[in-house]
Symmetry: C2
Subunit: 207 residues, 2 copies
Amino acid sequence: MTRKLPDKTVERLSQYRRALLNTLSGGKHHIFSHEIANLLHITAVQVRRDIMLIGYTGTLRQGYDVNELIDIIGKIIDTREGQKVAVIGIGNLGRAIMGYFSGKRTRLNIVAAFDSNPDKTDKIYAGVPCYHSDKMMEIIKNESISIAVISVPGEFAEKVAEDLTMAGIKGILNFSPKPLNMPAHVYLQEFDMLTMLEKVAYFVKKS
Amino acid sequence: MTRKLPDKTVERLSQYRRALLNTLSGGKHHIFSHEIANLLHITAVQVRRDIMLIGYTGTLRQGYDVNELIDIIGKIIDTREGQKVAVIGIGNLGRAIMGYFSGKRTRLNIVAAFDSNPDKTDKIYAGVPCYHSDKMMEIIKNESISIAVISVPGEFAEKVAEDLTMAGIKGILNFSPKPLNMPAHVYLQEFDMLTMLEKVAYFVKKS
DNA sequence: AAATTACTGTTATTTTAATAACAATGTTAA
DNA sequence: TTAACATTGTTATTAAAATAACAGTAATTT
Ligand SMILES: NC(=O)c1ccc[n+]([C@@H]2O[C@H](COP(=O)([O-])OP(=O)(O)OC[C@H]3O[C@@H](n4cnc5c(N)ncnc54)[C@H](O)[C@@H]3O)[C@@H](O)[C@H]2O)c1
Ligand SMILES: NC(=O)c1ccc[n+]([C@@H]2O[C@H](COP(=O)([O-])OP(=O)(O)OC[C@H]3O[C@@H](n4cnc5c(N)ncnc54)[C@H](O)[C@@H]3O)[C@@H](O)[C@H]2O)c1
């Protein structure tokens, strides 16, 4: 298939798709690059360039076919069977995430949650069972869960990540403030809210 | 003071500081660039370059003085008086964020929360009062709150952002999936979890 | 005393991302 | 029919970020 795309292009493709699904439900079937750009508050060139990179081409006078573009992006981002996701650590953030995803229809299915606190396990959150973390490695392996969201306190994040790696996880989204060190074959995305808020504060101060 | 620093450097400074505070509480008072690098899983050159940019210099044989470095970073990121932060939308995510920040001692003080649902207002969350959003503009202005965290559903985000701008907000951290369009004097940081998870999925698929 | 080592600080280079420039082309207007 | 227009697709340029190269230097070893 397509060559590996730039990081930022992949991010935008995800956003294009969401915006396009909206457009579609508004009954609009064709869209110009500058219209997509306006939805995301970026430039039309950026949009056209991204679309060029995925090898889709629009028509000169009508722009892009919304359905086709949604499909193509799907072919790039999604896998046919979908990917299974687990959430580790069902505290305040973990529960918020579970609730958030439960509505969305997507090829990313949260199929299991794990927590070390027995008060929180053997229950259903947003339709998804929460197991004790003792069973994590086994279930990840048996269910071939490929992606994990880490929302445990920082001091446990490293151990959890190691276990996940041993269980064969392929990608991690880490919400804990502890920077993780993964082998090259595990894709890692860190997500540090405190850092982002401090960054906002810095640029507010500087402006 | 210092010239405006690169975006990514600011992010790392926030992380350096957190790591250094840890180091300090472990009783360690000097640290080498490669040690900082190991804590964050980045390269030592990157660390030295960032530190160069903020104009601090270590000593040849001992490396950096942990206390001094923490102080310098504080001078760059923090303001003397601290900055006031409001959280808009006290749903699952909003409440998680309130809880998360309440522990942290930082110069960023969450001083108010707002929600449009009367069932959620006129209560205290994590020590912070939640007002009805009717009062938002007035309170933001009167309290000179400079930073807002938006955690309302996407369809309301734009309106909220407009009101915030009119009330004189200076920086926004947006968790809603709706991309916002702010005037140049309002610093905007978007934070889209679905996009990040789809990105992980893409690179897992490609690897 | 000279060579080696283990660091820092800085400049140079490379890589990645964004922006600009523009050729190609069907459509509308004159 | 011809000129102007609006749009795409692509190449060229610029900007931002990361990485590499290396000079300088105090301490240590030979
Ligand atoms: N709450 C937020 O809005 C927020 C924001 C940014 C980052 N974070 C980070 O996300 C993480 C979770 O935050 P939170 O507010 O939900 O904390 P929390 O304390 O509410 O939840 C943590 C959960 O992890 C569980 N846990 C602990 N060790 C575990 C292990 N080894 N395996 C499985 N589960 C384990 C705990 O039982 C608890 O349920 C923390 O690292 C926090 O720093 C949270
Ligand atoms: N829950 C998550 O983990 C998560 C993850 C990523 C993104 N988000 C995004 O964050 C936002 C909030 O998510 P959530 O799960 O907390 O949703 P939620 O429905 O639990 O909470 C939304 C809150 O916003 C309030 N609200 C609505 N309109 C408002 C207005 N005009 N002014 C003030 N408050 C208003 C509602 O009363 C409600 O309390 C959404 O945009 C969601 O897409 C959530």
